[in-house]
Every structure is written in C-alpha cells, then in structure tokens.
C-alpha cells in the first residue's frame, strides 16, 4: 500500500504538499502538482477510505437539506433519494437534518437556513428560492466554510459548490429522439403542453423541436397546444387535435393533464394507432403505459436529484473531493410497459 509519506519522500516535498495535490487544494505550483500527481499515479496511490472514515468518526458532520412544500409527489421521490444516500454515508459519521418549507417565500427559506446554521450544519443541500437574499446567504455560508449544493433548480451567479439537476432542454431532446424512432423518421406529430408561461415547458419544446429539425426532417410538427396542466382542458384540446388531423401519427404529452389526454386518445377513432410519448410517472400515466396507450414516458429522476447532493457533499466533507463539474446533470429515466412497475419500490 502506497502512503502519502512515500510519495512525499520520492517527490522531495512535504506531506502537506502531497495532501494538497491529491485533494485538489490550492497552494501548490503547477510544476510540483504535475510531478506529485505523476508519482502518485505511477505508484498506484489510492486514498485509504476506511482510514479517513475512522479519522472522521471523531468529527460530526451535519448536512442540512431544504425542500419546498409537500404538495408535489416529486419531492417524495427526492426525499427517498436523500434517505438512500444517507443510509450509505451514515456510518461515516454524517447526519442529515431534513427541513420541509411551508411556503415558497424567500424569507421563510432564509429563516430555515439561519436555524440550520445555528444548529451547526457543516454543509447544506437546498432547492433554492430564486431571490437575492438566498443567494447572499449561500455566498456567506460558502465564505464561512459551509459548502452548499443546489438541486432541482439553481440560483444564478451564486458561489454554491455545484448544481444537481435536470437538463430540461435535453429531456425534450430525449422525447424528440424517441418520437423520431417510433415513427421511423416520417409522419405528423402534435404536442400538448402546459403553458407558454412556464419556463421548463418551453425548454422541453425547444429540445423536442430541435431534434425534429436536425435529425428527423421527415417529421412534421402540426400543432402545439396548451392544456394549462388541467385534465378537462387536456381532454378537449387533445380530442380536437385527433379529429382535425385524422392522419396524425404521434402525440407528445409534455406536462400534466395526462388522464384527460388519455381519454381523448381512447375515444378518437384514430387514437389507438397513434404513438405517444409523455413525461413523468403520475398514476394516470402508469395506467396508460400499462394499457399500451402511452409508448414511452420520460421521468425526471427525482430520486437521483435527492441522492446526488448528499453524495457530493459527503465526498466533500469526508474526502475533500471537489465535484468535477459545476452542473451535475441527472439523466432521465425512460419507462415502458415492461418496466413501469419498477416505480416506487
């Protein structure tokens, strides 16, 4: 087993310098950094994780987690992810303090942050409210040695360690690719989405249409209609689409209102032949995938959005490992009839 002492001896530097290099900390010249990491690599140096964990047991690490109100099933899955990560790191002396907000008020979030700091958190993972006072709090914590990871949505120009979330445009591209393959590159599609006033819906459309334009020029997007995320509106607009375009081949359901759209597809004469790609895993979507009405449904993987921040912060606290990227992209989950039952285990 190669030790830091050996590397230091060969490189003719101090153990502190080797430690800085191995943990990507500043304060070492590029020339020394290159030489030391070269030697470490040549000797096959691996950090002694157990040793570090044993050393860390003396310290207490407390990671604060702040999520928005419990009105959305999405955040239940995020919580499951947080818990799963916690199960993996709790033996290394890491504790979690999970805080659920009651509103979307920046002031409330700031209050929770202050409360957690008073409790002595050593790191924070939060779904930030986009407000200057939250950004300032994040910067202040970072300056004070408390690393912060944002998840699900980011806060621009803050000094957070990294952001864990979904590339929404990419999700739209995934939907486009699936549709393109389902239709084998030719046909007519329509899109039903929530609202033009919701950023993420526009981003999904952007990704979807980009793939169609670049890779599937044989597919024509006939219409994109809003359903305001409501089932009743969704039913009416979807049925109207199906009736006005008897030769429609594909339908992309970009947001909620899936139950209503599903009924419209079942009622329309041409409904059963249509290829359908949807988003998320609400109960109605699961039913429709099982019935074979929806071919693919694309999930936002909220589990990983809860899991990764805890892992990243644990790695940082335990092993000084700095995340390699500023935006940690979570990849989409794609579910079909054969694996839709694997949800919610």
């Amino acid at each position: 087993m190669v030790t830091i002492r050996e590397i230091a001896r060969i490189a003719k530097v101090s153990r502190g310098t080797v430690d800085k290099v191995l943990n990507n900390r500043p304060g070492v010249s590029d020339e020394v950094r290159e030489r030391v990491s070269g030697i470490a690599k040549a000797l096959g140096y691996k950090p002694n994780i157990i040793g570090k964990a044993l050393a860390n047991q003396k310290k207490a690490f407390l990671i604060g987690v702040i999520v928005p109100p419990d009105s959305n099933p999405y955040f239940e899955d995020i919580k499951r992810g947080v818990n799963a990560a916690y199960d993996e790191v709790k033996y290394c002396g890491i504790q979690i303090d999970y805080q659920v907000m009651r509103s979307l008020e920046p002031k409330e979030q700031l209050g929770i942050i202050e409360h957690l700091v008073d409790k002595g958190i050593t790191a924070l993972a939060l779904n930030p409210i986009n407000d200057d006072m939250i950004r300032d709090a994040i910067d202040e914590m970072t300056g004070g040695g408390i690393p912060v990871v944002t998840f699900t949505s980011d806060i621009l120009r803050s000094r957070r360690l990294c952001f864990v979330g979904l590339d929404v445009v990419k999700s739209g591209r995934v939907a486009g690719e699936l549709m393109g393959k389902l239709l084998q590159g030719k046909g007519k599609v329509a899109v039903v989405f929530g609202s033009r006033s919701i950023l993420s819906h526009n981003q999904r459309i952007e990704g979807f249409t980009a793939v169609m334009r670049q890779d599937y020029p044989g597919i024509e997007i006939l219409e994109m209609v809003e359903n305001l995320d409501r089932d009743d509106v969704s039913f009416e607009v979807t049925l109207s689409l199906l009736e006005r375009y008897p030769d429609l081949d594909g339908l992309c359901l970009m947001s909620a209102g899936i139950g209503g759209a599903g009924r419209a597809i079942k009622l329309a004469e041409n409904g059963y032949g249509i290829k359908v790609v949807s988003f998320d895993f609400i109960p109605e979507t699961v039913e429709l995938v099982k019935e074979g009405i929806i071919d693919f449904t694309i999930g936002q993987n909220p589990f990983m959005q809860g899991y990764q921040p805890i892992k990243i912060l644990s790695d940082y606290l335990l092993f000084d490992r700095v995340p390699q990227v500023d935006f940690y992209r979570i990849s989409n989950e794609i579910k079909i009839k054969q694996n839709i039952d694997e949800l919610y285990v």
């Binding site: 009416e236 109207s240 009736e243 139950g259 109960p283 109605e284």
Partner: protein, 323 residues
C-alpha cells in the same frame, strides 16, 4: 291586470332568450366561416359534451340566482365529491356505496350552505366563498396519503362512472343526454310545481312571499341542496370522462356557471331567469371555448374572456333595466 302583467313578464324573458339565442347563432355562423372543422358532427358533439357538466350545474345555479342568491362553491363541491367517491372506491368500498357517499357529501355541503345562509343570515357569496375554500381543501386532504404523504390524482376506473362521462348512445355522447333530461325535468319542475313557483316568488320579493305563506328558508335550503347533488353528478361525469379524480377538477367552474346563468338572462337581483336561457348561455360559453381551441388562441385568453363576458352580461342586464 294580474294576468296581463304575468304575460308581459314572460314576454320579456322570451325576448331575452331569443336575443341570447341570436347571439349564439351569430357566434356559430362566424366560427363556421373561420374554421372548417367547427360544424363537423364530431366537433358539435364535443361542444355539447363539453358543456354538459357546466350545463347541469347551471340548472342548480339558475334556481339559486332566481332566489336572489349565488353559489361560488360549485366547482369545489364538484371536485370534492368526485374525489370522495374515488377515495372510497380506492379503499375498497363497493362502487354503489361510494357513489351514494358522493351524493350524500354533495347534498350535505349544499345543505350546509343553505343552513348558514338562512339561519345565520350571512350573504350567500360570503358563505359559499368559504365553502369554495373548504371544498378545495378537503379535495386535497382526500387525495393525500396514497403515495407517501402528498396529494395526487386518483385514477377513476369504474365502468359505470366512465359511462356517465364518456359513454355513447348511438352517436350521441351520454353526458349530452343526461343534461337534456335534467334540463327538461327542471324546466317543468320550476314551471308546474308549487316549490318551483315559490323559487321565483322568493326572488321577486322575499318579504311578500313570506307574508303569503311561502316557507322561504325551505325553498332556499332546497335550491342549495339540489345544486350540491347536481355538482356531484357533474363531478362523477367529469371524473368518468377524464378517467381521473383530479385535485384541480372543477377549479374555476363557478365562473363558467355564473357566466352561463347571467348570459342566459337571469338577474343577479333575483326573481328572473329561466333554465332554457341558461342552457343557451352555457352553449355560448362552450362554443367560445371550442373556438379558442380551433383558432389556436392562447389558453389564458379564455380565462380573460370569461371575465369579460360575465361583466358584459351583467352590464347589459343593468342597462336594459335602467332604460
């Protein structure tokens, strides 16, 4: 003299209905020019099906507005009764009992509105505004605890309820038939039964009605409770059609319903209005909604339009009375 007064009153109503019907025809003509799909039979049936739940609730709302009241809680009662029924079924209660349970809840909430309005004598719009919030809150609470602790829609898979909302008799959607039957029944009811006539009497002059022996409180309790029951039917139809009891089902429907009633010629001061007029009003709302879809207009423009239409309808009523 009395007879002459009655018939001139009837004429005013008839004229008003004819005017509203004329407006409907005008919109239909314009739309059939603007969109080649508009007059196709399947689209016409869509419009009729689309107006059926609003139409059915509007029957109850017409009676309430004739008594001089208003019910802002109809959308919430629609939502909560459907969610209650779905939740009972989800818990394994037999569908028949669950449906009775839904109607029981609808009647209870309507009755509660009526009791507070008549006994505590609070303005109907305040009482029912409170009930709007209570009903919606209950909907979310009933939808909670299925997956973890959060509220989510409950899929509605019952075949009978599915038929109520999405069935057909021949080419005609079943909801359209349900609405037609109820419109005929209630039109006859308000015209030929004692309670039906008392509804108008209460709205024209409550004190005079009381002095001539009408049990004003009973009449009001009747209209609010009946509306609760009609909301339940609409809620089940809605859940059956969309195959889901949604937490936001019926949200904002009170505006469509009030709009249908005031467009249809009922006076918010009470004493005046007809179910036929209301149904024409509901048809105008449905055609407008369909037009927004066919003309690809932004969905939120519809929300703005409903507000404009309500204010316009009430304003014309006022101006007509003033002149």
């Amino acid at each position: 003299m009395e007879r002459g007064k009655m018939s001139s009153l009837k004429n005013v109503i008839r004229v008003r209905e004819a005017g509203v019907f004329g407006a409907l025809c005008l919109i239909v003509v314009i739309m059939s020019i603007l969109s080649p799909y508009f007059l196709r039979p399947d689209n016409i049936f869509n419009v009729l099906r689309g107006m059926s739940t609003i139409g059915i609730i509007s029957i109850g709302m017409t009676m309430i507005i004739i008594t001089g009241g208003i019910d802002l809680s109809v959308g919430s009662i629609l939502g909560v009764t459907a969610m209650f029924t779905a939740r009972l079924m989800y818990q394994g209660i037999s569908p028949v009992l669950a449906i009775f349970g839904g109607f029981g809840l609808g009647c209870l909430l309507g009755f509660t509105n009526g009791i507070i309005i008549t006994k505590v004598k609070i303005a109907p719009f305040i009482v029912t505004l409170g009930m709007l919030s209570i009903g919606r809150g209950l909907t979310y609470l009933l939808a909670t605890g299925l997956r973890g602790t959060v509220a989510s829609n409950i899929p509605m898979t019952n075949e009978f309820i599915g038929y109520l909302g999405a069935g057909y008799i021949g080419p005609i959607p079943f909801p359209v038939i349900e609405m037609t039957i109820l419109v005929v029944l209630f039109s006859l009811f308000v015209k030929y039964t004692v309670i039906g006539r008392q509804i108008y009497a209460v709205g024209s002059n409550e004190e005079a009605a009381r002095l001539s022996g009408v049990n004003v409180d009973s009449v009001k309790l009747f209209v609010y409770t009946t509306t609760g029951a009609l909301c339940t039917l609409a809620g089940l139809m809605n859940a059956g059609l969309l195959s889901t009891a949604a937490t936001n089902a019926g949200q904002g429907n009170e505006l469509d319903v009030v709009a249908a009633v005031v467009i249809g010629g009922a006076s918010l001061n009470g004493g005046q209005g007809s179910i036929i007029g209301t149904i024409i009003g509901a048809a105008i709302m449905a055609v407008l909604r369909n037009s927004f879809i066919l003309l690809r207009l932004p969905a939120y423009m519809q929300t703005v339009t409903i507000g404009v239409v309500i204010i316009l309808a009430v304003s014309t009523d006022r101006l007509r009375k003033a002149s």
